[in-house]
Amino acid sequence: MKILTVCGMGVGSSIILKMNVEKALRRLGVTADVEVADIGTARGAAATADYIVTSGELAPQLGEVKARIVVIDNLVNVDLIADSLGAALREAG
């Protein structure tokens, strides 16, 4: 499974998001590759990703992608990320 964390520049919030998604996955007992992308390259990178985790501000800018989008508005709250990601994983079966 591949998860893409997306922010505007790929150097700030997406790195925090990547680390916290990895923590959330450990809590959920799920193994996945987590990669960082900026909004400019995210559409291309999304072609091989199963999930995209990003903020509500950036999600609409991704346009049509095949990957399931998980929106997180508090990037430092691992509990919230684990809840949202866990729900998305369950929904996908």
Binding site: G8, I16, M19, D73
Partner: protein, 158 residues
């Protein structure tokens, strides 16, 4: 925490501004830019780049309630990896639908995509606790901010 790429190593006292006044989000980002200029991490152009990032992509840099991570991409205006810190006397709105108003702006200048990763991880853990974020945002001077950070031991990343 004496490592120069650690959270404290990247945030010298001169880059910490507390109880500052900003009339709007642009001036709050400019204050964060000043801290990066003072430490030699960035030139004045980087402040414009951080503001342009929000103008182009929206206020997604407000990463948690009350907290903005002002940054742009690596560019000629970035001289070294560094952080700055601005706590605001009166919170300002960035236009974020959930996380406004912003009480603390952390500025980030990055020379590449990896050097600052560990420090950002520490910062994220430090500010994940809303009570600690509030305590840091209300710290009366730069020395107190740095002492509160040095008292915090991030959990080891596996």
């Amino acid at each position: 925490m004496s490592d120069k790429l650690s959270l404290l190593g990247l945030l010298p006292e001169q880059s910490v501004l507390v109880n500052a006044s900003a009339s709007d989000w642009r001036s709050a980002i400019r204050l964060a830019g000043e801290g990066l200029i003072l430490s030699g991490a960035a030139t004045a152009d980087y402040s414009d780049e951080m503001i342009a990032t929000v103008e182009e992509l929206g206020p997604y840099i407000v990463i948690a309630p009350g907290l903005a991570l002002a940054h742009s991409r690596p560019s000629p205006a970035v001289r070294a990896t560094g952080l700055s810190w601005v706590s605001l006397r009166t919170p300002v709105r960035f236009g974020h639908q959930d996380n406004d108003p912003v009480r603390l702006v952390v500025g980030l200048a990055a020379t590449d995509h990896s050097q600052h990763t560990a420090a950002l991880g520490g910062l994220a853990q430090l500010l994940a606790d809303p009570a600690r974020l509030a305590e840091l945002a209300a710290a009366p001077d730069a020395a107190t901010v740095r002492r509160l950070i040095s008292n915090f031991e991030p959990e080891v990343q596996s």
